[in-house]
């Protein structure tokens, strides 16, 4: 930074580097480096291109996979859902016609779109990344500006490699201190959202910073950035550092040789300058964090696992109070009730929040030599085929199976319940995914969001459990 320039945030640097046109009174035309595509939010965009006689401007900056609707049963079992088959066929046809690389059903690199982007080395610092999926914020862990878009915008990016954007505000989330045993990255983000609410970050981009964040692995950073959208933020990002470079190096599509050195040199200039100003700030003391769990029907309704459910009568604001009453009604829970000891029917370990190899390792480590409670269905769904292969190479699949868990193929699975993996009405689940909305994991299903450690502890006990009592 030269002395006459004002100090900039990571966000501002990436934003500025991607401005194609900035006319007063109009949104900025922003260049997009990487566009990820999946089967559910893209068909209508390709139809739009066809109707207008347009091509995909940069198939070489676009990559597709199928993850939302595909079954997680073994590949040799044919797909039975006609609509899913149609969507998959449509994506194959679209990718072929427009020349887009596709990691289809048989690809060893297939998986949840936000797991495979980083895994392939496609997600790199300083880039703009978009996908027709709100959890694109996951990629921000690499110091990218990454955000979810709608299908009209998918069409815009396919056609022009650009997007129209109004500049969001910035929000610094400082996390300082040391996490206690049993407390993880998931608990940091659930804590943040419980404090600011699910609309707290609306119009902003989070930058997570501070000693705790610096100490997280890339996979843990992805867990944090993943749920930025649950705090209402457009995106969440973390400045790239040695941890970032170490993760990307040698990945299949990462720069190699001289190009690698040049890339790292550029990436080192990205972190927020000293003295840069954010529009909002919050600080979280990691030393005081405990395992978190949600009790309601949005991710902001979260508490320490040892707490009791809040009483709607203690809330002054009418609409907020009604929201909580409605949520507790749906969840079948009472004010003042503790959640520890709450019986659970299903535990889901998976989703783009927590289905990477490190998540599976901590879970396997905890369940090794123990059994899943016989009242519980414990589903383990790796985030990608690569994660699955790695886990199998380490023997994690055996540990899960011996304990009585289901070991499944990669995909979104019960995070969104589009593929047949779903809760039955009234069932309770502890899930490592990111959304506990009504019906999200199956019509009438009731979800508690928690970390992989809490989820696994719960699978063993059969009731919501405090993992700290189990080490």
């Amino acid at each position: 930074m030269s002395t006459n320039e004002h100090p900039k945030t990571l966000f501002e640097k990436i934003w500025n580097q991607h401005i194609v046109v900035a006319e007063p009174n109009n949104p900025t035309v922003l260049y997009i480096d990487l566009h990820l595509v999946h089967e559910v939010t893209s068909p209508q965009a390709f139809t739009g291109l066809r109707e207008k006689g347009l091509k995909v401007r940069h198939p070489d900056k676009t990559m597709a996979t199928m993850d939302h609707g595909i079954p997680t049963t073994p590949l040799d079992i044919p797909i039975s859902d006609e609509l899913v088959i149609k969507q998959i066929n449509q994506l194959e046809k679209n990718c072929q016609e427009f020349g887009i690389p596709l990691h289809g059903l048989t690809s060893a690199y297939r998986g949840i779109v936000h797991v495979i982007g980083p895994e392939l080395g496609l997600t790199q610092p300083g880039m703009t990344v978009v996908c027709g999926d709100s959890h694109t914020s996951t990629h921000g862990a690499f110091g990218t500006l990454a955000f979810g878009i709608g299908t009209s915008e998918v069409e815009h990016v396919l056609a022009t490699q650009c997007l129209l954007q109004t500049k969001p505000k910035t929000y610094a989330v400082r996390v300082e201190g040391t996490l206690s045993l049993g407390v993880s990255a998931k608990d940091i983000i659930l804590n943040l959202i419980s404090r600011i609410g699910i609309g707290g970050g609306t119009g902003h981009v989070f930058e997570y910073m501070g000693s705790t964040i610096r100490g997280l692995s890339m996979e843990e950073r992805m867990t944090v950035c993943n749920m930025s959208i649950e705090g209402g933020a457009r995106a969440g990002m973390i400045a790239p550092d040695e941890t970032t470079f170490e993760y990307i190096k040698e990945r299949p599509l990462a720069p190699k040789g001289e190009a690698w050195n040049a890339a790292v040199e550029a990436w080192r200039k990205l972190p927020t300058d000293d003295g840069a100003v954010f529009d909002q700030e919050i600080t979280i003391d990691a030393n005081t964090l405990e395992p978190m769990i949600t009790y309601g029907t949005n991710p902001g309704m979260g508490m320490k696992i040892t707490d009791t459910i809040p009483d709607p009568d203690s809330i002054k604001e009418v609409s907020e109070r009604q929201t909580l009453v409605k949520a507790l009604q749906y969840m079948g829970l009472r004010p003042g009730q503790p959640l520890l000891g709450q019986p659970i029917d299903v535990v889901f370990l998976g989703s783009c929040t927590n289905s990477r190899i490190s998540d599976l390792r901590v879970a396997a480590n905890l369940i090794k030599g123990r059994k899943v409670a016989n009242t519980v269905r414990f589903m383990v769904v790796p985030g990608s085929q690569q994660v699955k292969l790695q886990a199998e190479a380490e023997g994690l699949d055996k540990i899960f199976k011996e304990a009585g868990a289901e070991w499944r193929e990669a995909g979104c699975s019960m995070c969104i319940a589009m593929n047949g993996d779903q809760l039955q009405p009234g069932q309770y689940a502890v899930s490592t995914s990111n959304r506990n909305f009504e019906g999200r994991q199956g019509k009438g299903g009731r979800t508690f969001l928690a970390s992989p450690l809490t989820a696994t502890a719960t699978a063993i006990v059969g009731k919501i459990a405090d993992v700290r009592t189990m080490f």
Binding site: V40, T47, P59, H68, G150, E153, T202, S319, I416, M418
Partner: protein
């Protein structure tokens, strides 16, 4: 996109806060390759009983609910997933505008691209609209896009924010893609000046 200038219509209220896109259109209806028919499943799990019959208590199933063109919703409407199926379903049902005290970012973006007006009003106006509806379910209000105003039955005008660009596009009924395409030359210059950061075909 259809042109939108003014709309005088009745409203229907679903004042719940934080209505997420999974409620607007549950994920099991996303297994489509076009936009047709989504309106039939708008708010599906609130609107229909387990056996598929309409839930008579849900406001969209009332006579007023069936003809309303304006949805009056609670704070932070449209949070959650980026699915454009949400505004498609809302428009498919026949709504042309949603009034709330705030909207989630992606929902707002998606709606503006389609010409569905997300109208953010202050809390007081929101409450006033709710009580007007309670008193008289057939209350009509007028939305004037050019003036960025909601006209209440007593003549009071409440302005709402909308970015100039989206406003112009919706007034003219033009797709935003056209604007991006008009900058083809600038995009080429940008690409010439910036090395590719990624190559998925590598």
């Amino acid at each position: 996109m259809e042109k939108f200038a003014t709309l005088t219509a009745t409203m229907v209220a679903i004042p719940t806060e934080n209505i997420d896109t999974d409620q607007i259109i549950p994920a099991r209806f996303l297994k489509v390759t076009d936009k047709a028919g989504l309106g039939d499943n708008l708010f599906c799990d609130w609107r229909y009983n387990a056996d598929g019959t309409p839930n008579p208590d849900f406001v969209l199933n009332t006579t007023q609910g069936k003809k309303a063109k304006i949805l009056l919703a609670g704070d932070n409407f449209g949070c959650g997933s980026s699915r454009e199926h949400a505004p498609w379903a809302i428009m498919g049902y026949g709504f042309q505008a949603v009034i709330s005290t705030s909207f989630a970012d992606i929902f707002c973006n998606n709606s503006l691209k389609l010409g569905l007006l997300p109208i953010a009003v202050d809390k007081e106006t929101h409450l006033q609209l709710l009580s007007l509806l309670e008193e008289e379910p057939a209350t009509q209000i007028t939305i004037e896009l050019q003036n960025q105003a909601v006209v209440l039955p007593d003549g009071r005008k409440v302005t709402f924010p909308i970015d100039n660009f989206s406003k112009t596009c919706i007034l003219k009924g033009v797709d935003q893609l056209g604007y991006l395409q008009s900058h083809a030359a600038a995009i080429e210059v940008y690409e010439a000046n910036h090395a590719d950061r990624v190559n998925t075909l590598a």
